[in-house]
């Protein structure tokens, strides 16, 4: 009985977990992770300037699904002009895409531009290039916002190839 009581007393003593190896591991891991941590996530938007292209003969009749069209966003101080260019679409059909949107306060109507581009993409799904012509005083931030709207919506891709250009 006496022996049993003594054994119980020994088992009741607190057993401390040795944390020192865990601390050592943390001290190694933290500098390593600090050196490879990225606090700024920098991405990129691909763009280009127009290049001279040779004309390709296309004898086969094309439907709207295979025809390509280049939407143009002309950013002016107070308005934004939207129109389309194409060698495969009749001039009268292209004229249907001519619209002008006014600035809403200090902001360009990006939602309206996106709706316009979505509609165009629905009509000409093969098109993937867009021309952006900003005015001299348009801020870079506004250009990037417009490019974002032109490249894709939340659901699908619109015109991923953005070309910055001078007025044509």
């Amino acid at each position: 009985m006496k022996r049993f009581g003594r054994n119980r007393k020994i088992n009741d003593t607190d057993t401390d977990i040795d944390m020192v190896p865990i601390m050592n591991m943390f001290l190694v891991l933290i500098p390593f992770l600090l050196s490879s941590a990225s606090f700024f996530d920098i991405n990129a938007i691909h763009t280009s300037v127009p290049v001279k292209q040779t004309k390709v003969n296309q004898d086969n009749p094309q439907t709207n699904e295979t025809k390509t069209i280049i939407p143009v966003i002309e950013m002016k101080a107070n308005t934004i002009e939207l129109y389309a260019l194409s060698e495969q679409v009749a001039v009268n059909d292209l004229k249907k895409w001519d619209i002008s949107l006014k600035k809403q306060g200090e902001q360009f109507p990006l939602a309206d531009i996106q709706r316009y581009l979505q509609d165009m993409k629905k009509h000409y799904p093969e098109s993937d290039t867009i021309l952006v012509i900003p005015d001299d005083n348009i801020l870079y931030e506004t250009i990037i916002q417009t490019m974002d709207v032109a490249r894709n919506t939340n659901q699908n891709q619109l015109f991923p190839n953005v070309v910055l250009s001078d007025k044509i």
Binding site: S35, S36, A37, F39, A44, S48, Y140, I144
Partner: protein, 160 residues
């Protein structure tokens, strides 16, 4: 009597245990935070003081081949100062003759070096530009770069 008491106190002194539980908690939080911000491709970038990059939804990684940095007061190519910028105007830059500019000469040197090394020709210039700069400043750089044989660009943006 007093001496005896003091001796008794000395013998009963127990070395205090270091309480590292709170330190462990702190390290665990730091470790989790760093694990979330871990990048398998960490890159060192030198961004000008006061330069604010615009935010974008773009998911494309930026390959820092040739970097052109456009801040509100200076133009740099690969961290080398090329020209001053004053109110959006690049100093010593002739709009009619961009080929006479320092930027053009510098880019042409890079182009020649790459041609001699038979490097890949479709290299893109990465433009780090302050979000408040007007297009006329960017246009000068873009136009000159195109003339120097670099028609493809990447605009560096911060992930939204």
């Amino acid at each position: 009597m007093a001496l005896g008491q003091r001796r008794f106190q000395r013998t009963s002194f127990v070395i205090p245990k270091l309480q590292i539980t709170s330190m462990m908690d702190m390290f665990t939080i730091i470790l989790i935070f760093l694990l979330f911000s871990f990048s398998d491709n960490p890159e060192k970038l030198h961004i000008e003081n006061g330069m604010i990059l615009p935010k974008s939804t773009s998911q494309i990684d930026c390959n820092k081949d040739i970097t052109v940095s456009l801040s509100s007061n200076s133009l740099k190519v690969d961290n080398q100062h090329i020209a001053d910028i004053n109110q959006g105007v690049i100093s010593n830059f002739d709009h009619q003759h961009p080929e006479k500019s320092e930027l053009y000469k510098h880019l042409m040197t890079i182009r020649h070096n790459r041609d001699s090394k038979k490097d890949q020709d479709n290299s893109a210039i990465v433009i780090f530009c302050d979000q408040h700069l007007p297009y006329k400043t960017i246009h000068q750089v873009v136009k000159t770069s195109g003339m120097a044989g670099f028609p493809n660009f990447q605009f560096a943006v911060l992930k939204k």
